[in-house]
């Protein structure tokens, strides 16, 4: 039975999607999605446990052995990302029921959950597969359903945001496809571990270089690294807020995983960062990203937009960690993928609770919210502190590791800029907290007093995730250990 788990990981949610279409009832299709997603989460936990104990798992789809057939390949790195994706999806889906009930018309609910299931399937598939072309197939599945999910947003701007993402996302996906095509032309194989062996021996190194450039561009667009992030703020602002929480926690993280997989496992560290000076491109983009986007976030008056810009900044930290290309740098990057995924999902869920009760998230008008929605505000403040990187939160663990890694390499300037951008985070998160907690309500109507907290079915998932992130903040070594093992695998190449 346990041998079949890699296949079950994606099959369960894939089967749930058409069943949701057939059910057509909002409540039952949600139940179906929820059951499937919980099961997928349990499967990913078992897989992570097994990988950490016994090492790499390989699964040949259709019984066709690796270089010619499609293979699922699971090591510490993707097992961790699988847990992250399915876990965040499960928690946010639990939360989505009430949140979506208010913002999406009831007759479209089953389609919403169908798209959600397809999206999870795609994301899990990208992560689990060991076949380069299969990555593209799952990328398309997840992206197409993501555009659909975003377009469920309340007003018409969701449609333009979704379309904009569709255009840029398709450019990114086709760049990735062209890159894979060139790799296939140069080496004659699509299996990742086989590619890693054959790329150095390939006679057409120029084709490999072209593939490398296309893949880089494609993945950078998909993961919204700084100059290519134009699709992200609008998509995050106008999508239904549950979708935003889901996407912020998983979608860009999965693209970053693809980046890691291709640069470190397929091309190899020496090719990506030695010969072709990828850090000459990646590092400036990442650093400019986290400094400038933190600065932009300060001036946003819409809470969702502020968090969206902060997301681009956080992607900057992660990529900066990757481009150090050392054991500790990679560890920092991978830990931040997981930590930021949790924190951002929490923040957007809290924003969703505010949106549910207050009806808008215009920051300056959220004065004295602490009195009205104490639990939501406390959750927001805890996660906000995690975003800044206050000790005992997850943000501290990853930023501390990142600064350590850059000092280890002797890049003082990077460490200083990370600190500078954290200071900016204090400003933009602090501003919201100040308004929520300390500012007196301008209108003293009867409705502004009294508590009107979000429903429990939204607060409980929020607090579950806040609790988990606090746990990993206090017990930082748990995630660091997995990330360290993943980094060792990546630097050692595929076995």
């Amino acid at each position: 039975m346990i041998d079949q788990f890699p296949a079950l990981q994606i099959m369960v949610t894939l089967v749930a999607a058409p069943i949701c279409v057939m059910i057509r009832n909002p409540r039952w299709s949600w139940v179906c999605a929820m059951v499937a997603n919980t099961f997928a989460f349990l499967v990913s936990l078992v897989l992570l446990d097994k990988v950490l104990d016994d090492g790499v798992i390989r699964y040949a789809v259709g019984g066709w052995a690796a270089p010619s057939g499609i293979e699922y390949y699971i090591d510490a790195m993707n097992a961790a990302v699988l847990v992250l994706v399915s876990g965040i999806s499960a928690v946010v889906l639990l939360y989505a029921y009430r949140s979506v009930a208010k913002s999406v018309p009831a007759e479209k609910h089953y389609l919403f959950y169908t798209a959600w299931m397809m999206c999870v399937t795609g994301l899990l598939g990208i992560v689990i597969t060991g076949d380069a072309f299969n990555v593209f197939v799952f990328l398309e599945i997840s992206s197409l359903s993501m555009y659909t999910l975003i377009s469920f947003g309340q007003d018409r701007r969701a449609l333009t945001a979704s379309f904009r993402y569709l255009v840029l996302g398709s450019v990114g996906a086709s760049f990735i496809l062209i890159g894979i095509g060139f790799l296939y032309a140069a080496t004659g194989t699509l299996n990742m571990s086989d590619l890693a062996v054959r790329i150095p021996e390939s006679e057409s190194q120029r084709a490999v270089l072209v593939a490398f450039s296309f893949l880089t561009m494609g993945v950078l667009i998909k993961s919204a690294v700084f100059p290519l992030h134009a699709w992200l703020p609008n998509a995050y602002t106008h999508a239904p807020v549950a979708v935003t929480a889901f996407l912020a926690g998983t979608a860009t993280k999965v693209s970053l995983y693809v980046l890691l997989r291709f640069f470190f496992s397929v091309f190899g560290k020496d090719y990506s960062f030695g010969q072709h000076l990828l850090n000459g491109v990646l590092l400036p983009a990442a650093v400019a990203g986290f400094v400038l986007m933190s600065l932009v976030a300060i001036f946003q008056n819409d809470l969702r937009r502020m968090l969206a810009y902060s997301s681009v900044a956080q992607v900057g930290y992660i990529v900066a960690g990757f481009s150090l290309a050392t054991q500790s740098g990679l560890t920092a990057g991978i830990v931040h993928v997981v930590n930021h995924g949790m924190v951002k999902a929490c923040l957007f869920m809290a924003v969703g609770c505010i949106l549910y009760r207050v009806g808008h998230v215009h920051t300056p008008s959220l004065d004295n919210l602490l009195k009205r929605m104490p639990f939501t505000c406390v959750a927001f403040i805890i996660s906000g502190l995690g975003l800044i990187g206050v000790p005992l939160t997850v943000g501290f663990v990853s930023k501390f590791t990142l600064i350590q890694a850059s000092l280890e390499k002797g890049w003082w300037a990077i460490a200083a800029l990370v600190l500078l951008s954290s200071l900016m985070a204090i400003v933009y998160v602090g501003r919201v907290i100040e308004i929520m907690v300390f500012r007196r309500s301008r209108e003293t109507g009867p409705e502004s007093s009294g508590m009107s907290e979000a429903p429990l079915s939204m607060l409980i998932p929020l607090y579950v995730l806040v609790g988990v992130s606090l746990y990993f903040g206090i017990n930082g070594s748990a995630t660091l250990e997995v990330a360290g093992q993943a980094a060792t695998y990546l630097l050692g190449g595929l076995q």
Partner: protein
């Protein structure tokens, strides 16, 4: 001579009625003969859908919708995917890997045959549904 709307394009209507069964038949041929000759689920689905699209073009969208309502089409799209995925699950139940058709029957070649048959049928049903839905979507826009 005054023509009622339903009498317009008489020739086209009669020819369409004659052609549609053959188109459907050819679709089924491409579907089920795909193992031996050129063909397969996708092509068959498109051919099968083209019969309905032709019907819609000649007799109007309303009458085609009476034959195949969007609700039925949604079921078709979902059931095709479900058939494909279900085949995968069945192979796993039989102890093989996902979509390893060899375990489906007493000997591998036979099993491969059954597996491909089921999977391609799933593809065909879904593609038919998607094609007609696309046609409905574009044709009902004003």
């Amino acid at each position: 001579m005054k023509l009622y709307p339903r009498q317009r394009h008489r020739v086209l209507q009669v020819v369409t009625k004659l052609v549609i069964p053959f188109v459907l038949m050819f679709g089924l041929y491409v579907q089920f003969h795909g193992d031996y000759g050129p063909g397969g689920g996708f092509q068959a689905g498109v051919i099968f859908a083209s019969a309905f699209i032709l019907h819609g073009l000649i007799f109007g969208l309303k009458r085609t919708r009476d034959v195949l309502s969007p609700t039925v089409l949604r079921f078709m799209m979902a059931s095709g995917v479900l058939l494909y995925a279900g085949t995968g699950l069945v192979t796993m139940l039989f102890g093989g890997e996902l979509l390893n058709y060899s375990v489906l029957a007493h000997e591998p070649t036979h099993g491969q045959h059954w597996g491909i048959f089921a999977v391609e049928l799933g593809v065909g049903i879904t593609v038919t549904g998607v094609m007609i839905t696309l046609f409905y979507g574009f044709a009902s826009k004003r």
